[in-house]
Point group: C2
Chain length 255, copies 2
Amino acid sequence: MAKVELYHWEPNANSGKPLVTLLEKGVEFVSHYTDLLNWDQHKPEYLAINPSGTIPTLIIDGVMLNESTEMGEYIDSYCDGPALRPADPVERQRMRWWGKWMDTYFGPSLSMTGWHAFVGPFARANKGEDELRAAIARIPLKERRDAWTMALFGTFPEDALAESRRRVAEGIAFVEAELGKSTWFAGQHYSLADINAFSNLYALPVSQPHIANSDNTPNLMRWLKRVYERPAIQTSFTYGRTQLAQRALDVMKTL
Amino acid sequence: MAKVELYHWEPNANSGKPLVTLLEKGVEFVSHYTDLLNWDQHKPEYLAINPSGTIPTLIIDGVMLNESTEMGEYIDSYCDGPALRPADPVERQRMRWWGKWMDTYFGPSLSMTGWHAFVGPFARANKGEDELRAAIARIPLKERRDAWTMALFGTFPEDALAESRRRVAEGIAFVEAELGKSTWFAGQHYSLADINAFSNLYALPVSQPHIANSDNTPNLMRWLKRVYERPAIQTSFTYGRTQLAQRALDVMKTL
């Protein structure tokens, strides 16, 4: 049996993908909660494992992985448990297409709005500027230093935020239309595409209630309900330690 | 045998990936040269095939694909010919890691510098502003309209260009270090990772000669030579119609 360790934050966005994938397959693993808001990911002991200082990190039989979408394919091919990649080549391609769309289009846009509204304000609460500057200085990648600086000091450019909000709104409309064509993201089978999508979309009914609601996006709401009902998803929220997990439970009640 | 049609521009960047993959596997296909600089990709007949108006588009037995990195896995699993994905799970994971890095980090940065220096100036040559504005108005995706506007009018923000140039330089140094550890990008086997990387990197010795040269990046230069020597790569350049293909031949002579 594979020896698996997962360093993760809350069960959402990037950390949610490998966490749910492991739970769906029934893979035993050691969970290391890594506090993004306390910059655990930039501490020397974490950088010794994953030099990029990003969360999550997956270690499987000594192999380190630090790209969350790609972790899914590795777990699915390497570990026992139900298949999470469709056998049909067209569905499998569709699964990967959604992964790419989430990673390069929708995800970064939703992420910027979330970092602006949530990660920045929470991480800077009760901390002085010197402490924040010192935390930023420890970040190994310049692009992550830049993102943290903008989040902590609320300086994402207004035009970039506006473009992100536009993409989020257009993206939700696109997802709604696509979910009118098939039960799951890739087609007829629940797959890594749904796990990745859920990690990004699960909170939309509370974070974007003016866009994601039963009048506007009935297909999305039905799909969210189907995914929320899965035991692996419900278990994944028990790995959370902030109000985000409670928020998920609140969303679930509204579906 | 699969019925394959490829709509592609020059054999580089995104178009180069499926073109080389098909040639490496010996798959018969119909080539449709699609002139990016003449905006063939925004014409109604093209949008009827690929509504996003991006190049390349691959049609295999009636299935349309419009994400070039993901095309590789589909071609490799669906078509006959030598395997281009390593059987070893760690190498296969590494192949995908590089695909992600190229698509989300290095590629967009290199692309911005190339659009600024080459695509914009070439596409706007001998055209009036009205013609350029009309061409932009026909682009279906707002993010592509924005990119074309900045390329055609030379208005990429200076700080964005500077950050792209920084990432290109850091990325080349990273590639150089990694190619000191293994013969090919994913490990011991030539794979889709090399095809994707080559499509992005093949012109560096002429486009970034101050960074990519035999003193600074000997591992990269040796890898480029190994890839350039492959018959499929040499054949791929015969599909080009602009000076880019000639530029590739010039690079090859210097290796």
